[in-house]
């Protein structure tokens, strides 16, 4: 009723405007469309402010295969066309992994399962103060091997593919390099930093000369979610402004608003780091670049990336300011694989794997590369 009235007003206004000023009919139509969009913007804004619906995220059917403390291993429903299962290792802390299965008809996990991959997701979980002693080494030597074995057990396969995203890539690379007993058929690094001397702003801010990681962890115990949030907001301070502007611009579009709400829910749900994990992550990776220099030791074994001999696919994002392409690409020089490939795709750290651009540029590249090798 209200909308009809508004439309009548718009029509009357544009007709009168046309009569008075004698403007071309196409300009009038354009005015009408603009006013209509404005009306829809205001309606959606009212809905967002007064009664925002809870976005339904992570809707691809899945089954919990295993749980270890806070970490969970999920297997997603798919036609399982390929016999080699895929273990997806995302970042620990920072954010929740439902970004990879955000909304139906537009998520990486949904794409991979539709393509017929037997997809397993390792959700590291949300750690509490009782987990402050957890280290990167624990993740590499205790959690990942167990999860990989569970993948093999549950799928009945003899080999598995591993895909590491963001921080999950160096962690899973350490695991692949130190566990020759677990047969990894193919390894993919998506936006995962390897050479930390080229890691950009975070690398500069976390330099040993400026950032005292020991004082930080000893005082706070862990890295609270708010602190993680502050760090990520600081790296791109104008991000919130751009996001709000784009929201206003697209507020007339219901589909955009639905996507925005889901993304906004994810983007505001930061996850804390366990203290000892953060200490080792910053010291060994950011400050001393031990992984790339081959000086890292985990579970009593030296972590040598040249021990990775399986086919390797590395994906970097052109506008990634968290893991710039150079520090991701470095994996190619470090591994001993005969078959290795690097692609640099449009997008940032998140838009590489989530969103419309990712669906066009990234997902088909990853699934095509993996399909012929699974």
């Amino acid at each position: 009723m209200g909308q009809e009235r508004f439309a009548d007003v718009v029509e009357r206004f544009t007709n009168a405007y046309g009569v008075v000023s004698g403007v071309a009919p196409e300009v009038l139509t354009q005015w009408q469309e603009e006013l209509d969009k404005l009306q829809r913007r205001l309606t959606n804004l009212h809905r967002l402010v007064t009664n925002p619906p809870e976005p339904k995220v992570g809707q691809t059917p899945r089954e919990e295969i295993y749980k270890k403390n806070k970490s969970r291993l999920y297997r997603y429903a798919s036609s399982r066309r390929y016999k080699t299962p895929l273990l997806f290792v995302p970042n620990l802390g920072i954010s929740r992994p439902y970004i990879f299965d955000l909304l139906p008809n537009g998520s990486f996990i949904e794409h991979m399962t539709r393509e017929g991959f037997d997809f397993y997701l390792l959700d590291w979980g949300v750690f509490g103060p009782e987990d402050n002693d957890l280290t990167v080494e624990d993740c590499v030597t205790r959690i990942l091997p167990r999860m990989a074995r569970k993948v093999l057990e549950s799928s009945g396969a003899t080999e598995l593919n591993v895909l590491g995203y963001c921080m999950g890539a160096p962690i899973s690379a350490c695991f692949v390099a130190t566990h020759p007993d677990i047969p990894v058929k193919n390894y993919i690094d998506m936006a995962g930093p390897i050479d930390f001397s080229k890691v950009g702003l975070f690398g500069l801010w976390l330099k040993k000369d400026y950032f005292n990681v020991d004082r930080f962890v000893d005082t706070l115990g862990s890295v609270p979610a708010d602190m993680v949030k502050a760090g990520f907001k600081l790296i791109k301070p104008t991000m919130d402004l751009s996001t709000s502007l784009n929201l206003w611009w697209n507020l007339w579009n219901d589909q955009y608003v639905e996507g925005f709400q889901a993304l906004s829910k994810w983007a505001n749900e930061y996850v804390a780091f366990p203290g000892e994990f953060f200490r080792q992550w910053v010291r060994d990776f950011y400050q001393e670049n031990k992984l790339y220099r081959g000086e890292l030791v985990m579970g009593g074994r030296p972590v040598r990336l040249q021990n990775i001999t399986c086919p390797v696919f590395v994906v970097g994002a052109k506008e990634d300011y968290i893991a710039p392409p150079d520090c991701v690409r470095a994996l190619l020089d470090a591994v001993a694989s005969r078959e290795k490939e690097y692609v640099e795709l449009p997008g940032g750290h998140i838009s590489l794997i989530a969103g419309r651009g990712a669906a066009r540029h990234c997902w088909p590249k990853v699934s095509d590369w993996l399909a012929s090798r699974s």
Binding site: Q30, P129, L204, W205, N212, R215, T219, T238, L245
Partner: protein
């Protein structure tokens, strides 16, 4: 007609901005007694870029229903310019040093306060016969350790079973 309106609008806006800038300059110059800092040197390039973008937009096209689009384009450019300037400022060793020092100061001042607060809360909970956060954390840690032990036993049994399966019967 539309061109004239746009230019008038732009002139008014520019005049207001210039007057505002002058007022700010006067205020800042009055405040410090010696060597006044120039806060505008930091954002002047951004302002100039924004002004140019605005002027270009108005010069290119008259006021039309797409004014909203032009406004969006202008703001996008403005934000991008800010982002570039801030990125450059934050990508310097000086900024990293300053941030590190500030964080250190916060942590150094926070540590004793946190210790006192933790002790106070612990004592208050104890007097109320309630478990404290550290006690609950200790229990949770024990559960995590128990789970680890169970897993190790599970692994050992699994390995033994696999070996038995391989042996000829």
């Amino acid at each position: 007609m539309a061109d004239t309106t746009a230019n008038q609008l732009f002139d008014i806006w520019k005049k207001q901005l210039e007057e505002g800038t002058q007022a700010w300059t006067r205020l800042v110059i009055q405040a410090p007694p010696t060597a006044p800092p120039d806060p505008f040197s930091f954002w002047r390039p951004v302002l100039d870029e924004g002004l140019q973008a605005w002027a270009k937009l108005f010069a290119q096209s008259p006021v039309s229903p797409d004014l909203h689009g032009q406004w969006k384009q202008f703001l996008d450019q403005w934000i991008e310019a800010w982002s570039k300037v801030l990125g450059q400022a934050m990508g310097t060793e000086e900024f990293a040093k300053l941030m590190g020092q500030s964080l250190d100061q916060i942590l150094v001042s926070q540590a004793p306060m946190k210790k006192v607060a933790d002790q106070g809360i612990e004592q208050a909970l104890q007097s109320l016969n309630l478990p404290s956060r550290s006690q609950l954390t200790a229990v949770a840690k024990q559960i995590v350790e128990l789970e680890d032990r169970l897993e190790r036993i599970e692994d050992t049994i699994g390995a033994v079973l696999r070996r038995l399966d391989k042996e000829p019967r």
